[in-house]
Amino acid sequence: MELILVNVIDGLVTGLLLFMLSAGLTLIFSMMGVLNFAHASFYMLGAYFAYQISLALGFWMGLLVAPLIVGVIGAGVERYGLRRVHQYGHVPELIFTFGLALLIEEMVQFVWGKNTMPYSVPEVLNFTAFSIGANSIPAYKIFMIFTSVAIFIGLLFVLNKTRVGMIIQAALSYPRTVEALGHNVPLIFMGVFGVGTALAGVAGVIAGPVLGTFPGMAFVLGSIVFVTIVIGGLGSLWGALVASLMIGWITTFAKSYNVQMSDILNAVGISTPENLGNSVFRDLWTVTSPQIADILPYILMVLILIFRPAGLFGKRES
């Protein structure tokens, strides 16, 4: 019972972190149609910049400044790179972000080398907030939850209560109409790209100390962000939130309990065959939930695409 509660909190942290990445990506993806493969690279940049700044000015300045730098870089990438490629279509755009991801990783290694950076939790937050049984919940996790929730609320406010937000929402559903109405869509694109990457930067800043700041951190995150927004439905912020939390909890619980495939199969009435030793299916029977925890979101995505291509909350197919 205690473990369930602890897992709920852990899954929430994972999910909210994922949400900070997917929120920016879903805005970018649904407005511009760009599968931004470099999104996780901006997350990595956020962590590295924050580390560098924290050396001189402390963690909090890093939290403040690093996302801004990342956002400016993101806007620059949109303005001088993507916009040029945009005219050629979506595949070249995608390749562009693909190449960009490669290049950012190389540049990070060029500047900071290949080792893990000793970027760590600030002293103020380096204590145990409370314990549930023997499990301690670090204060930093609580801080992560509050930061992401604050960002989500801020984002909702901007999108629903401000003029810019209205235009963005309109552009999500009817990009051509918005342009026809005389709004400067390229500027909106640049802004959204900048904000989206800055959000990824924030995620990097706060995730860097717990998940590690190393050149492979973007690669490890991989395509799970796309999976999130596809499951949630393109263009839907709520969808991104629900999908992020869902993935956070599913993977956390799958890892926390050792459920074996044979248990499940036995439960539905299929009995374990006798001579598993040499059978090709041997490995299938002994698969445990932690082994497949990280691919569960992919299975979920494929199923959703087959049966509900628009995603959980999406309105359009592509």
Binding site: N7, S120, N135, S136, G212, S256, P290, Q291, D294
Partner: protein, 414 residues
């Protein structure tokens, strides 16, 4: 443009060929390990140690065979078996007869099989495989061959030594085993279960599981399980980011026992653990750094530090590789006849500057040496890692660990 493409192909390919002509007098060792990509940091550090060792131990002392120098030629295998095999072919074409590799048992497995086939099919250009870090026991058991020499203790030997030390702690009642889901991780887990069962049947193994290698972003759920199981100690074979992630997460989330492991030093990991890992992380290694084993070793380490201020000697066995190879070449009187050199390496006893004797067991080409169990700390540290002030302090030593361990190797000699 067409011409350009062809021209560049010609020139690129001739570069490969051309390189073989130059420096023909050096004895070249091909270093095939990741120099780019996610594992580049380990590969690059290994390369620095090789280059330094060859230079410091051989070339500056006048070389071997009366003045022939060692030369390390680096090949980036991007930790891919396919690339490793291509680079192996390139290395062989350049006339290189010694192949050094260590990162990833998967790559080592591909290389040892390819080298065996190559040597069978091309008796004129045989090569030796100097495995300095791939520790899958299979390489010196069912997959062993005459051309492969392992200079690192294999996973079983390391676990044997580690559990020897663990067994002395009477207060330890429950152990959690966790590792990466691949051959090495499985070998570690199997060895841990076997050794604990023999040495401390009273200890309960409260968890034994594998997680996907290199894919886990957040180890919190695993830590929760470990804490919930009430384990007094963790055993893991994790390395790289998986080690750091698991260790940090377990400590952060309330685990308060020791973590027994293989690879938790250097490459930024020591610095990243810092204070949080102090006295908690215990690792098995060979070669005494803190306290330093010999004055000779101290001089070596100081020279290395002068050259690579940001580097660590975290794989002191690399110096044994160079030392033993040069001794073998001297004894064989040739560097070209690798069979003669291999025969010298087999059964060689070598006094390591890092302390103790090392012995290349002839029946399976597995090295036997003293194993140390050290603790991650900042006290009494002469040579720290990652310039962090933290390092590994040797707490206990198992002399000539697993000298009589059995092997299933059926060595076929040419």
């Amino acid at each position: 443009m067409k011409k350009f493409t062809k021209l560049s192909a010609v020139s690129a390919l001739s570069l490969v060929i051309g390189a073989s002509a130059a420096f023909a007098e050096n004895i070249k060792i091909a270093f095939i390990d990741p120099l780019s990509g996610p594992f580049a940091s380990t590969g690059t550090n290994g390369l620095h140690q090789f280059e330094f060792a060859a230079d410091y131990m051989v070339n500056q002392k006048g070389g071997v065979l009366g003045g022939t120098n060692f030369e390390i030629v680096a090949f980036d295998n991007k930790i891919s078996p396919k690339e490793s095999l291509i680079q192996l072919q390139v290395a062989i074409d350049q006339g290189i007869r010694y192949i050094a590799q260590g990162n990833s048992s998967g790559v080592a497995n591909a290389l040892t099989e390819a080298i065996e086939k190559h040597n069978k099919r091309n008796p004129d250009s045989r090569v030796l495989f100097l495995n300095y870090a791939a520790v899958d026991p299979a390489l010196t058991n069912e997959k062993c061959n005459f051309w492969h020499f392992r200079f690192d203790a294999n996973a079983d030997i390391k676990m044997d030594a580690l559990t020897d030390v663990m067994a002395k702690d009477e207060s330890m009642k429950k152990v959690y085993i966790i590792g990466q889901d691949y051959s090495f991780g499985k070998a570690v887990a199997a060895a841990a279960v076997k050794n604990l069962g023999e040495k401390r049947p009273d200890v309960e193994i409260v968890g034994n599981e594998l997680h996907p290698i290199g894919k886990v972003k957040d180890f919190t759920p695993y830590s929760r399980k470990i804490v919930a199981s009430g384990a007094d100690a963790i055993i893991t074979g994790n390395w790289g980011a998986d080690m750091l992630g698991l260790g940090k997460s377990a400590i952060e989330n309330g685990f308060d026992g020791p973590i027994f492991t293989y690879y938790a030093a250097g490459s930024g990991i020591t610095a990243a653990f810092g204070e949080s890992g102090k006295g908690r992380i215990r690792l098995i290694s060979q070669g005494g750094i803190n306290p330093i084993a010999t004055e000779e070793a101290r001089a070596t380490y100081e020279a290395f530090e002068a050259k690579y201020p940001e580097g660590n000697i975290d794989q002191s066995r690399i110096f044994n590789v160079i030392g033993m190879l040069s001794t073998a070449i001297e004894a064989a009187g040739t560097a070209d006849d690798v069979v003669a050199v291999a025969k010298q390496l087999e059964g060689m006893e070598y006094d390591s500057q890092w302390g103790g004797k090392v012995f290349m067991r002839p029946q399976d080409h597995q090295i036997i040496q003293d194993m140390n169990v050290g603790v991650h700390t900042d006290e009494n540290i002469d040579f720290d890692y990652d310039n962090s002030g933290f390092g590994v302090y040797t707490e206990s030593t198992v002399t000539m660990a697993s000298m009589d361990s059995p092997t299933t190797c059926d060595m076929k000699r040419p």
